[in-house]
Symmetry: C2
């Protein structure tokens, strides 16, 4: 206990709780993805490609919340391992549209199931209608932080 009136009570601040929840989610995802030899960014990349085939390196980077340089390193590895394919030459501009291979899809299927389990566990304490409210509140937080 102290009388620091100007400080922020960390354990009860929404920002701290948000970081704590995101960290817990990341740790839980790493735990289930490690047996598959995948990182969270690796999984995010494959999941994004499954939903939106042909995404560019930069678009994947934004979707996975890393820099395009980091995503580029990952894509080179995944291409070498045969999980994704990129054309040797850009068809238009500098963009190299990326797509999943059959092997990539197979790996993703395992990872998706594992991650779905984590997400279900996370949402276990939220009633179905609460989940909608929760998602909506998260979106509003994102909007408020991004618009300025």
């Amino acid at each position: 206990m102290n009388g620091e009136a100007n400080g922020i009570e960390l354990p009860t601040s929404v920002g701290y709780l948000l970081k704590e929840a995101a960290t817990a989610l990341r740790v839980a995802m790493e735990a289930v993805l490690r047996p598959l030899g995948m990182s969270v960014t690796h999984y995010s990349c494959l999941e994004l490609l499954a939903q939106r085939p042909g995404l560019s390196n930069s678009e994947l980077a934004r979707g996975a919340f890393v820099t395009r340089q980091s995503m580029n390193v990952l894509l080179q590895t995944l291409e070498r391992e045969g999980q994704v394919t990129r054309p040797q030459q850009p068809s238009a501009g500098r963009v190299l549209p990326t797509e999943l291979t059959a092997e990539g899809r197979a790996l993703l299927a395992q990872a998706s199931a594992a991650v779905r389990g984590v997400e279900d566990r996370m949402k276990a304490g939220l009633a179905p209608d609460e989940q909608k409210v929760f998602a909506d509140q998260l979106r509003r937080c994102i909007t408020s932080l991004t618009e300025g």
Copy 2:
């Protein structure tokens, strides 16, 4: 970049939104802390020490969601710069209780004000009673993820 009206929905899972919100918060905090020469972990460390003077390196690491090795590196820097103090010898066990200096407190005061502005902006779209619900839902998510 091509338009976003492709008909393909952006990821809408709660887990993805949680990561997106946490990333937006981190970016916003980095933006306001950079002019003060502080990182988010640096700020978290000082804020924790203000609320709970005498925390050990390991306890600070857990509170800031980094490893104790990373926190140790930070504490050595902060001690050299005069923002925190640690006894040369442990009084009991191996624990070295850390405390803020006057300089550390002054820096924290500026940082707290800046971070409070970010948090207020994030919560701007949430009604006061919604904020309580939101925090409670975050706590339930943390509990569900941590108990497994």
